[in-house]
């Protein structure tokens, strides 16, 4: 496997992946380095070792042993019922020159994969499983908002830069709001696993007509 490995602080390395998605190799890295913590970025993985040391050579020499899996039988798929009533829906359609129905069918046609949970507790960065899919290329034309909102309501479904997300709680945000869901994405009452999703999970959106 081809990748750039560099030291990141005193105990971690950052791996920049060239052809594979982080979620497809994260388990392989975890089994190669069982004592380390492995976390994913959009195109990167960070491995944090318990001891202070330059681990770049060790990780570089292990790259040959890494096996990528597209999606395994363990992969969960979650369906999110969404009301497409977001504040930016009209503007997004206008920009793309398409109807509301076309936008909804594009967003619901894509199988999304959780690339990582970051930015805020339980916040999923969703990327199209197949980025070459026509619908994925269409939505990829929408950038982030020029001026982020000070407050985005919890449950907002949004898109930006080819990705989609759901805001697990109310927070500032710069993505285009296209819908809303009642689904809870972060629940502290579930102390075992408060985040609904984890990196690698698949997500489909389904229109809930109001």
């Amino acid at each position: 496997m081809r990748a750039q490995v560099s030291q990141y602080g005193e105990r971690s390395v950052l791996i920049e992946l060239e052809q594979v998605k982080p979620v497809s190799v994260i388990d392989s890295f975890r089994s190669l380095f069982p004592k380390a913590e492995v976390r994913s970025g959009l195109n990167t993985l960070m491995i944090t070792f318990p001891e202070i040391f330059d681990h770049t050579e060790l990780v570089e020499s292990s790259l040959a042993k890494v096996e990528a899996v597209e999606s395994s039988t363990k992969t969960r798929t979650l369906v999110i019922e969404t009301e497409y009533t977001g504040e930016d829906l009209e503007k997004v359609c206008e920009k793309l020159g398409i109807t509301r129905a076309k936008l909804i069918s594009a967003h619901t046609a894509i199988t999304w994969q959780v690339a990582l949970i970051g930015f805020a507790p339980g916040f999923p960065y969703l990327v199209p499983l197949d980025e070459t899919q026509e619908e994925a290329r269409l939505l990829a034309q929408i950038p982030r908002l020029e001026v982020p909102r000070a407050k985005v309501p919890a449950g907002s479904v949004a898109i930006a830069s080819g990705m989609s997300c759901v805001y697990p709680s109310s927070m500032p945000g710069g993505w285009n709001l296209i819908g809303r869901t009642e689904q809870i994405f972060f629940d502290l009452n579930n102390q075992e696993s408060p985040a609904l999703l984890q990196a690698g999970d698949l997500v489909r959106f389904e229109e809930l007509k109001s």
């Binding site: 560099s6 030291q7 990141y8 602080g9 005193e10 105990r11 971690s12 950052l14 913590e37 976390r39 994913s40 970025g41 959009l42 195109n43 990167t44 960070m46 944090t48 202070i52 040391f53 330059d54 990582l116 949970i117 970051g118 930015f119 805020a120 507790p121 339980g122 916040f123 960065y125 502290l188 102390q191 696993s193 408060p194 985040a195 984890q198 990196a199």
Partner: protein, 293 residues
């Protein structure tokens, strides 16, 4: 027994932090100055008792019966209008008024032995970015306390320095030079914003989000660096020029007005960590445990 907050200043409740949840977007959080926090615990013979992190202003409390406390930081402490020594553990009696006033900008830690704080995901820390953990402390708050079996009369043999003039860091792969003299522009538990810009190539600095950690020296497209602190987000999309060594992360809360950033080797980071552990474990003296002389 009940502890009552009379005046809060700006005060949070913090402990060692919330570890192992980075993968679901949850920051480490925990005491901004982990060294002062640990020393305050050790003075009481404890490890990870939640502390009041007094950031600013005057803090006052009263207890309904006797309690054992330890204070570590650059602060003045008063019990019923008598000045008492900080960096020690001592007993306050029922209805006595304990007042703590920070003397500089670094946080001060008050640990009350046996304080009951509800944990969230294994930690009693307030995460200011995600609003997780106990609410910020306000006047009128009450806490249950059971101070039995805590040490009294311990003190620190090594004085802590609350004016950090140097931060050492491991240089990152992206070649941005942040070494040299700096001033702090704004300090919070999320990050320390520095006072000037470094040259960055145009278009650099906006990357696909990747994992972040406290100590990372982020350089956004503006070129004005921010050193991430305990409550910083778990991922980010700005270039990282380097990462402050772990043995000095507690100094982010103790920075002098002017300080320098100096790159060091991983070997240096390792020795600094060993040295810090040695200092922390050897600097707490308890008179009752000094053995038969």
């Amino acid at each position: 027994m009940t502890l009552k907050i009379i005046r809060s200043g700006i005060t949070l409740i913090e402990d060692q932090g919330r570890y192992g949840f980075g993968e679901i977007g949850i920051s480490h959080s925990g005491a901004f100055d982990q060294v002062s926090f640990r020393l305050a615990n050790l003075l009481l013979g404890r490890q990870n008792e939640p502390a009041f992190e007094i950031i600013q202003g005057r803090f006052e409390l009263e207890t309904s019966s006797d309690a054992i406390v330890a204070i570590v930081g650059n602060a003045k402490a008063i019990v019923d209008s008598n000045l008492v020594s900080v960096n020690t553990s001592f007993q306050i009696l029922a209805k006595q008024r304990l007042v703590i006033e920070p003397l500089g900008s670094s946080p001060t830690y008050l640990v009350v032995a046996g304080i009951q704080i509800t944990k969230v995901l294994g930690s009693a820390s307030r995460d200011t970015l995600s609003s997780l953990g106990p609410d910020p402390v306000i006047a009128g708050d009450e806490f249950e306390v059971d101070s039995s079996n805590a040490l009294i009369g311990s003190f620190l043999s090594v004085k802590q320095d609350y004016q950090a003039h140097v931060l050492h860091y491991i240089q990152g792969a992206m070649k941005i030079d942040v070494s040299g003299e700096w001033s702090k522009e704004r300090v919070s538990r999320i990050g320390v914003r520095l006072n000037r810009e470094v040259p960055v190539e145009s278009g650099s600095g906006n990357l696909a989000s990747f994992p972040m950690m406290p100590g990372a020296i982020q350089v956004p497209p503006s070129g004005q660096p921010v050193i991430l602190a305990v409550d910083s987000g778990t991922t980010g999309g700005y270039t990282v020029a380097g990462v402050v060594i772990e043995a000095e992360l507690h100094k982010l809360g103790r920075l002098a007005e002017k300080f320098s950033l100096e790159p060091v080797s991983i070997e240096y980071a390792k020795n600094a960590k060993l040295q810090l552990e040695k200092t922390v474990s050897s600097s707490v003296i308890n008179p009752n445990q000094m053995g038969a002389w």
